[in-house]
Symmetry: C3
Subunit: 432 residues, 3 copies
Amino acid sequence: MKRDVNEFQIAKALDIAANNPYHGTQEHMDGQSQAEQGDYTRSLKHANYLVTETNAQTTDWSSAYQYPPYDGQLRLDVYTHLSSGANMVEYWHWASIPSGQETYWKGVLSHDLEPNRAYAEVSRTAHELQKIGPKLVNLKIKNDVAILYSVDSANALDYMPFALAPAAQWEMGKPVATYSTVVHQLHKAFYDANVGVDFVFPEAADFSSYKLIVVPPLYIANDAILQKLSDYVKGGGHVLMTFKSGFANEDSAVRAVRAPGPLREVAGFNYQEFSNLEKALPLKGDPFKVGEDNKVMYWAEFLQLEHAKPLASYDHPFFGRWPAITRNQFGAGTLTYEGTFLSDPLQHAVVLDVLRDARVDGVKQSLPAQVREKSGVNGAGKTLHYFLNYSGTAQSFIYNQGPGIDLLSGRPVSNAKRVELGPWDLAIVEEQ
Amino acid sequence: MKRDVNEFQIAKALDIAANNPYHGTQEHMDGQSQAEQGDYTRSLKHANYLVTETNAQTTDWSSAYQYPPYDGQLRLDVYTHLSSGANMVEYWHWASIPSGQETYWKGVLSHDLEPNRAYAEVSRTAHELQKIGPKLVNLKIKNDVAILYSVDSANALDYMPFALAPAAQWEMGKPVATYSTVVHQLHKAFYDANVGVDFVFPEAADFSSYKLIVVPPLYIANDAILQKLSDYVKGGGHVLMTFKSGFANEDSAVRAVRAPGPLREVAGFNYQEFSNLEKALPLKGDPFKVGEDNKVMYWAEFLQLEHAKPLASYDHPFFGRWPAITRNQFGAGTLTYEGTFLSDPLQHAVVLDVLRDARVDGVKQSLPAQVREKSGVNGAGKTLHYFLNYSGTAQSFIYNQGPGIDLLSGRPVSNAKRVELGPWDLAIVEEQ
Amino acid sequence: MKRDVNEFQIAKALDIAANNPYHGTQEHMDGQSQAEQGDYTRSLKHANYLVTETNAQTTDWSSAYQYPPYDGQLRLDVYTHLSSGANMVEYWHWASIPSGQETYWKGVLSHDLEPNRAYAEVSRTAHELQKIGPKLVNLKIKNDVAILYSVDSANALDYMPFALAPAAQWEMGKPVATYSTVVHQLHKAFYDANVGVDFVFPEAADFSSYKLIVVPPLYIANDAILQKLSDYVKGGGHVLMTFKSGFANEDSAVRAVRAPGPLREVAGFNYQEFSNLEKALPLKGDPFKVGEDNKVMYWAEFLQLEHAKPLASYDHPFFGRWPAITRNQFGAGTLTYEGTFLSDPLQHAVVLDVLRDARVDGVKQSLPAQVREKSGVNGAGKTLHYFLNYSGTAQSFIYNQGPGIDLLSGRPVSNAKRVELGPWDLAIVEEQ
């Protein structure tokens, strides 16, 4: 997810897409970053992909950000990548380099070139894969939800950011939220709901197989993609769209009509004004029941409703006259619109509401908060369910899918049976 | 009020002075910034001036500092400028630009080029001015107080600042107070007291028509201007002077005599030492009764009194032996000196004390804290009183000037009668 | 203690070493910085040295960090330098410069060139020295403890720092602790215990006259110096060593064996892994009884014990399995090792423990916390005891050394007698 290249266009020239998804470890490994990178890379060619580099012992260009994984995290990480559709997990690099910039970007082995804790865990995982790998590769993943990713919008919003820290006059502060922040927040909301997502790209968007299209700020868009979104809703699709979408055309020129330009009809409102928010504001009456997290920030469009219905408005004497979140029935579908930046818990609540509205079969399992389920169909046509425990404490849950075998333990797992997961451990159930 | 040019000298080549006074909006519009810029610009040529740019919808070179005015603020802003002596208020620009650096520096119209909230308010104001404008232009303003503005001192103190944030060794922190901070603080203290001020410039200072000359840190000064200040006090004038005045000559060389150099006699003290203050200090006994705001900071001169009387001293075992604020009777006048940087409320209290000392007729009206009064004489020789409500709540007060007509409503206003002002609204009383 | 030169090598070309030890004043003068610089400079040539510049009135390249000394600090500072072995204290400069970068780097006189508070104190001190100076110069100082200072390690750890503030991805934060931080912390721990230290240098290390060698992170080291340390312990010496020692060779290449490389036997452990610490961690059970200061930070090596005994371990589910501080008996001596960065009070407690272990005669006097004792032998072969009060309040203590004369007051001082010290004052007892 780089700014300086259009990876979707580049991927056309590749046989197999690959990624180097580095991520947080120790207390910062919840699998979401790997899933976001994995979903994105898999979507570039609608195919399995390779992980050509990822965290071995430690990373970074100094000795100040060294965070070797806790016991179990290296193994869990490999299965995390496989559960997103990776067909390989490779490390940069085998042994650590004795000098230079990457002295502390450590491999599986330390500088002493001897077996160690990391080696033991990689070796254990490799021996497991030797046995069960053929049942895991070529996982086919079919999702109901897709995120429309626009690298042009990401770039344009880097030049005209919507959320900067306060700064001295005539200076610009550092970004506190960007296009990527919204993408990440949206992806995480679905991830936490155990709903898998694909990415789609404006250059070749096909919405037909999805129940819900999620639109991070589509600031840069030609008329064609906006028309496609409109037609998709009219035909029964559902869209969750965020602020600034439709504002500028493909040349980064603001459209000379009321915002959101060609989306005005499908969105059911127009706006002529917007404001940054100096402080976070609550939504009137806490409509999504998130308590102290009931707050929005950074940006507020002054939505003038035409056909849309308000879902939430600002609790403020001036901004309060314009709705903050709206939903519009258009043809057979709906478009839900966020005219402001939501707190993470609020975004999570709105996503759950949109999933219900779009009749996406959301929560597959009643799972502990730290356990994620990810599913797909393997090369043999059998359904796999990964249950991944991203925590340092043991977890358990009642399995409610079809009867199968836990490939790692070799034990049968039947419906309504309790499954136990150790710290940073997992089960992979292959339905029989 | 730029550093890189001497605007007083430049103004000689102009027929009419103009300014582009951008300012805070929403919760940050109290009219003070406009008054400070207006007083300064009017003083450049002792004449009415033009506002050639000011806030329309929103400003800034990104989408991150967009704060469109609340209802009423655009109209109130126009009258704010007129009440300082502006003869025109013009916007950069009519319509917003669709691309480039100033995409979000919005005009009266948005990118959609349609009428909107801003347009409606500008149009209302313009129609009012069509009717009453001839009674408002060419306002003559006569003040008893003037601030001596030295661009050379501002520049020199940028090179040798007196208040920087803590920094690593051999690094310099960011400025936390500058020459402009003191100018602004002093101007605001008079503004909040409803006492109008002019600016005067060292290059052609005529103090004869003023009761009080206010001197921000006059760090750079030739002997002549210091002699003028001294003579002014001797002849019965009053001066409020701040730290570092008289320290360096016109070549930025520190004078080779005890500070404050040629001001020693009129000031009634000398000093050989000074210290920055690591932490804010209280004044002993809270002499100006400002409670928790009784604190000074950044800088302390070790004033050794000769004839001056101490008004306040530091509550500190070491610094406590030197006074912080002094007053010296010299000839028929007085010089009040601040050897340290005061908190805003403390500065406000000292200014009120100096106004009493200088017998300046301070508070014209008993007004609510958010209402400002500004007065002048119009082209027809009639006195105008602007009453401007810089708040989002209605305000009222008892009018105590001569009977007149509120030009906006057309209603008569008589002495001792209550005047009501809506949120961000105003009255303009023309005495009959 | 510069990074860009090897001062020990340079000192060989000098007849007499000199230093310009600028330091904190007002509330920040405890004499430690002067002692650290003095111990270092004296150690360069094992001889008395010159102070060629130090704080007169104020320092710095702006008017924002001006902190003239409190009454008594200028005088106390001179004796502080002498008590570390200085044979001269000179100021940059006599009078202050009227313009340019160092306008505010003030001399003994201010810009007015007249006598002042600083001059009076310098003059008093100079007149004292005229009388008693011959009894103070050429002070010979004999210490039991030495700090091994490695400029190569300091440089290398600037390139691969172990403690940076959090930063945005792909950026590096500012250092929050460096090699110098550890040197300073260790020196201060001995200073606060009234135990004098020398410095020794890897280029010509002779440990034979010391009971204890203190080793700040010896990150860069050739095999020879590591062997010397090992032999020293084997022969009965004591070493207090900190993290990262022995990690890289003299070419800044990480050794291709388990850390700490050639030190493995003397240290009694090896390690293959390490981690930065995102947050400070407590040591399990507060083994050094320092209460709320029982915390370590920044860095943790995963010490795998072979012969060493653990003195402390981390109170953490993951890091807890590896000891944080160890001690190894090797031959006739011991090596105490800190695998992590300690809080200042924890370092102080560990140093006291190591002093007991090494049988260094630690606390000479029971002294108030703000009073330091420093001792040596003067040119006449008599023992001098400096008692220096680094505080603004009077202090007293019971003298417990041999009977002598207080050179400043001329009064006899006998054992078990109470000595009184004024604020920022001192006594110099010459044993008879």
